[in-house]
Amino acid sequence: MQIIVVGCGRVGVELALALQGEHQVTVVDAHARAFDRLGTTFRGRCVQGDALDREVLLRAGIETADALAAVTASDNVNAIVARIAGAVFHVERVAARLYNPGRAPVYDKLNIQTVSSSSWGAHRLEELLTRPDLRPQAPHGRWVWQPGGS
């Protein structure tokens, strides 16, 4: 798939690097320096510019993109970018990251798919702490289901 990641912060970098194995990834950020965080192994494209700027989105290939993730540091920028992708360019899969989980129900009503990193993190931690069938497997915060008793 052709995937656009808007916002090259910690989440954007990790997402872009995770996706690049099987997908064609383009990362967008307002600051060119942010792309340094991608390191030397990143093989996708980087587009510098304001994510609300039509030219920038076109350069990132939004007209032909299959998916877009809006993961900048601003909830409002993420929501608007997600709405542009869905409503204006008809990108099939769109998700926005929210810091403030209180806004999620509102965005649902506007057909903006959101992920609240704080609630998501809290729920995973809750599972990790309280469910005996879920065990950490690796030191990097990944865990897997393990059948009870193993």
Partner: protein
């Protein structure tokens, strides 16, 4: 009439004071501590609601559904677009006006994002400045029906084809109505017998074709004219 203003910069406080003075019901929503300190000095405290106007809970607290007009005047375009989108699509506010901070983002300020009227401040200022500089250039004052029609203003250029000609004798294109003449700062009602003079400022309602034709009559005379 209840007017809700989201974002409390200088324009917002100026507008709130004016509307309040004219007897309108006004609330001004602002969340940034720095801006708030200033706001409380500039407008009556009871008009100010402290909170982020892009949060649904905050909008509900100021009874957004009851608002006749919402003006999104924040300094971040994404914030204005979120406030407008929520106000229109979630709360059904009928009239929404928004400021555009970065002209490159102007394309987003449409009914899709809840905006009825977008005020692109860089563009507004640039046009006013160009208008003050202009001699023989046509200025667009207002665009109607997404730019199909416009109200334009042009100062008659020295030696233009229209100088010394009565309006009824001007070969005006079909979709062109001269609606006013400003002569030495005074409004002159255009009549068929009114003779145009150099330096007259002509206000006209035109479509795109008529605009080009009118420009030829009023502007710098071209070769062969």
């Amino acid at each position: 009439m209840y007017v809700l203003i989201v974002g409390g910069g200088r324009t917002a406080s100026h507008l709130a004071s004016q509307l309040h003075g004219e007897g309108y019901e006004v609330r001004l929503v602002e969340g940034r501590p720095n801006a708030l300190a200033k706001l409380h000095r500039e407008v009556p405290t009871e008009l100010v609601f402290e909170g982020d106007g892009t949060e649904p809970q905050v909008l509900e607290a100021v009874e957004v559904k009851r608002a006749d007009v919402l003006a999104a005047l924040g300094s971040e375009d994404a914030d204005n677009l979120v406030a407008a989108t929520l106000a229109r699509h979630l709360y059904g506010v009928r009239r929404i006006i928004s400021r555009v901070n970065n002209p490159r983002n102007a394309w987003l300020f449409t009914p899709e994002f809840g905006v009825d009227v977008a005020l692109n401040q860089a563009d507004v200022m640039a046009n006013l400045i160009k208008e003050e500089m202009s001699l023989g250039d046509m200025m667009t004052m207002l665009k109607l029906r997404r730019g199909r029609y416009s109200i334009v203003e042009e100062k008659i250029y020295p030696g233009a084809q229209a100088v010394g000609v009565a309006i009824q004798e001007l070969p005006l294109p079909p979709n062109c109505i001269i609606s006013g003449i400003i002569r030495q700062g005074e409004l002159v009602l255009p009549r068929g017998v009114t003779v145009l003079k150099e330096g007259d400022e002509i206000l006209a309602l035109v479509d795109e074709t008529a605009r080009a034709e009118l420009e030829k009559l009023l502007g710098r005379p071209g070769p062969g004219v």
